[in-house]
Symmetry: C2
Subunit: 493 residues, 2 copies
């Protein structure tokens, strides 16, 4: 186990850099300010910070050496995949090492018989499906950033994506992980067996946001590429009606491969950007069905009927692969598309029970008028995972503050209806205070006990994902005082 | 946190009984030998032990009081559901309290809109589906003991069943748990949201075999009862061929609701017992398909074709519900059926990669001849979860020992081909030594750290599920000496 941080004398900055250079070679360590800049934030640019140094190890032994060094000298370590995260989870620590896994980019093995791929953590999500394609297989979870994001980061965040409604999140598509603890111990966790003995460390590690260990190898499940996939676009002149249609599809026992919603502003932004051919309406649903030919035919006609009886003003089915790709292109480009029509936007990420969808969308619309800030809604409707994008201009005095308050109100609303303060984007830096709303002190204390079982000195990604009870006490007291948030002791949901 | 066990002076036996009576009332505590006997073992009768007392609390406050008392006086606590477990997980501790949750048998809420059921831990598995039936819903995981086993025990063991191939294990069908820690802290863990923040304590708790906390409430997912379910029986004159057919069905992208195999001896025993109408062959497969009418029709014809091309000598499809029930009856009664034809049997539970099924069955046959002990194979073929039943007579000198050695060889074989030493039956007492084969000391040490994060004094179910490193060192050394098992340090799979 690590020596407690408080008893260790910390080497000078120059000493640390020299020591790490000795471990990694000159090419393995960045420490000049201009080299550190690309690492100052992840996809959430609201928080920026330079690390002491960036380590770029090439081998597991080098990772182990860096962790061992950090552990001995009580230096914080923040692991980083591709840096596409949206909650500041990879934000560097100013006194710590930013550990980039970018050089761990090899696909080690594709096993078509057992349908698994063993890869290094820096491999891009989409690269796995590309490598598996010759065998008729693919890796199902598909975050919007799948061209760029790394599988190691996907594991750390338990990433979702359009296809996760049917095929599950990252955690449901993993077989095994190899991790290094902060003490440099190499653990292999997980198993291909459906019900392996021992505590489920694989699930515990997945979504733990770099707090418990550093991922050095990932074995994922591959699925057969479906015989057929087809997408339906349905237009509605009312968002609540689109919300009800989502519930009706799921209630019919159909699990679409994807079920996404966009509202008027998101539709218009996407249309201006990529010309997907979307109609000018209040909301659209995109519903993808996949499976065998017969299944898809049957489901397509069932879903079309349901959409029509639930008030869709237009229902189109993509007739070929080109049209299917076009339908999806608008959805996948929605975030950058909104970026084109507003100087700044704030992407929220909360979840709600599917049954409350229509109600929550209506209330977000009311809040939008109250705060006089436009909102574009683009989200995984089938999962109840919302992504309201609040449009603002940071150059207008007070607008950023109004945006943040508005965002806080949306998250409170999610918790109020029985949801959570983050869906697939994680807690990171951004949601750390909202964790005090989501969880009671007892549950947070148990999270800290788990953290201590892996990283007793708290060196991995300090200050992220799980707030200290002290922080929550301050945050809770402040907000109860202002009458904004329920006190975490009094109420959980 | 608990005070460390070693520093606490233990009250006398009489004192403990008097104190617990004060907490629970006379009706809430059993302590006379004749009252303790029904609790001396679970379904694995090879280990028997009487507890100091049996606590039968009726309220969460009483459970909390018992745990608080045990924690203050360093008294072991073993929680027990219905006692149908098969690995000795609920075996009492002679110096400890057996905590029965039998009186926690109320269904608290069925929520058809969100498709969940909130129940107490002592509710029987099947009772949940019965309560949900009026809403057209059911609870999917179905252990063979589902008439008797409790949902709390299902969570503790992460139980499977015939339908888990398609619908997942217990962990995949949970929404939320309420647990009490040994310190009496009440944690609510889990969330209906697909990707809730915080470490995944729900997955960690599920399958943890009563080592981390006591479950006091369970919220499960309910699924719509499928429009149609139909079962195919296929006969083979060779077990290996049946094994290949299983792989072919899964490879075709079909996920049956259940895919079970029985070999000649199991077929004959079941047939003698319940007259299911099984043919006299080397192996049968039972393949259930469910879904919409159209899906099932399509899958039935696909599976029939696959079975025929993979050498089935006969393929029957149940034409009505009565025939479907009869096909399954033989499978569900297979364990007691084998009990009728042999004085004793030893039920093994291991998993293997599905692709190695044919090979492993062949090798079990060879071992059966080597040890001169008959084996009946009845198992979840689709999951690769084997249940070889070794037939023996404990009255024949040396036969029990030969059986245990044979069983050990089967488990080694499972690990050798990349599987695990237990599937759905858990580790409990029975597999504790085999955990030393499955895991390296580093992983076991991490399990102990997790245990300590919940139960630092080690009072919950001591001696089960995770072996001490000391025990593994002794076990490993002994077996390496005899040349039977790989040393855990040298090899994991």
């Amino acid at each position: 186990m690590s020596t407690a941080a408080s008893t260790v004398e910390r080497p000078s900055r120059a000493r640390i850099i020299a020591d790490l250079q000795a471990l990694l070679g000159d090419a393995g360590l960045l420490h000049l300010p201009e080299d550190l800049h690309p690492y100052e934030c992840d996809g959430l640019s609201a928080y920026r910070q330079l690390p002491l140094a960036v380590a770029l190890p090439e081998t597991v032994e080098q990772v182990r050496a860096v962790l061992g060094y950090a552990s001995r000298h009580a230096i914080p370590v923040v692991a980083r995949g591709a840096g596409t995260g949206l909650s500041g989870g990879a934000l560097p620590h100013t006194e710590g090492i930013l550990l980039s896994l970018a050089k761990f980019n090899r696909i080690l093995d594709i096993d078509p018989r057992n349908r698994t791929a063993r890869v290094q953590p820096g491999v891009r999500n989409l690269a796995i499906s590309e490598a598996a394609k010759p065998y008729g297989l693919y890796y199902a979870p598909d975050p919007s950033s799948q061209i760029a994001c790394s599988i190691g980061g996907n594991v750390a965040e338990n990433s979702g994506g359009v296809h996760c409604l049917k095929y599950g999140l990252t955690v449901h598509n993993l077989v095994e992980l190899e991790i290094l603890t902060i003490d440099g111990e190499r653990l292999r966790i997980g198993n291909a067996a459906p019900d392996a003995p021992g505590y489920d460390l694989l699930a515990l590690m997945t979504g733990s946001e770099g707090m418990l260990g550093v991922i050095t190898e990932v074995t994922v499940k591959l699925l057969p590429i479906p015989e057929r996939a087809q997408v339906i676009l349905a237009a509605f002149d009312d968002v609540a009606r689109a919300g009800h249609a989502v519930g009706a599809i799921i209630a019919a026992g159909i699990i679409p491969a994807g079920l996404e919603m966009m509202d008027r502003l998101a539709i218009r932004a996407a249309e201006d950007f990529v010309h997907a051919g979307y109609p000018e309406v209040e909301a659209i649903l995109l519903c993808e069905l996949d499976g065998t030919n017969e299944e898809v035919s049957e489901h397509i006609s069932q879903v079309r009927r349901l959409l029509q009886t639930h008030g869709a003003v237009e229902v189109r089915t993509a007739t070929d692969e080109a049209e299917r790709a076009r339908f999806w292109q608008g959805r996948k480009a929605a975030f950058p598309a909104v970026g084109r029509i507003s100087p700044d936007y704030y992407c929220m990420d909360g979840t709600i029970p599917r049954s409350r969808l229509a109600e929550v969308l209506t209330r977000i619309g009311e809040l939008s008028r109250e705060y006089d800030l436009a909102v574009a809604n683009v989200f995984h409707a089938g999962d109840g995972n919302l992504h309201p994008l609040i449009l603002y201009d940071a150059n207008n005095p007070g607008e950023l503050e109004r945006t943040e308050e508005f965002g806080g109100r949306i998250l409170e609303l999610c918790v109020e209806v029985g949801g959570t303060i983050t869906g697939e984007h994680g807690v990171g830096m951004e949601k750390i205070d909202q964790m005090c709303v989501q969880f009671r002190p007892l549950e947070l204390a148990q999270f800290h006990a788990i953290k201590a079982a892996f990283d007793p000195a708290g060196l991995l990604n300090p200050g992220k994902a799980v707030p200290t009870l002290h922080r929550c006490a301050e945050f809770g007291a402040m907000h109860v005082h202002q009458g904004q948030l329920p006190h975490p002791e009094l109420e959980r949901f």
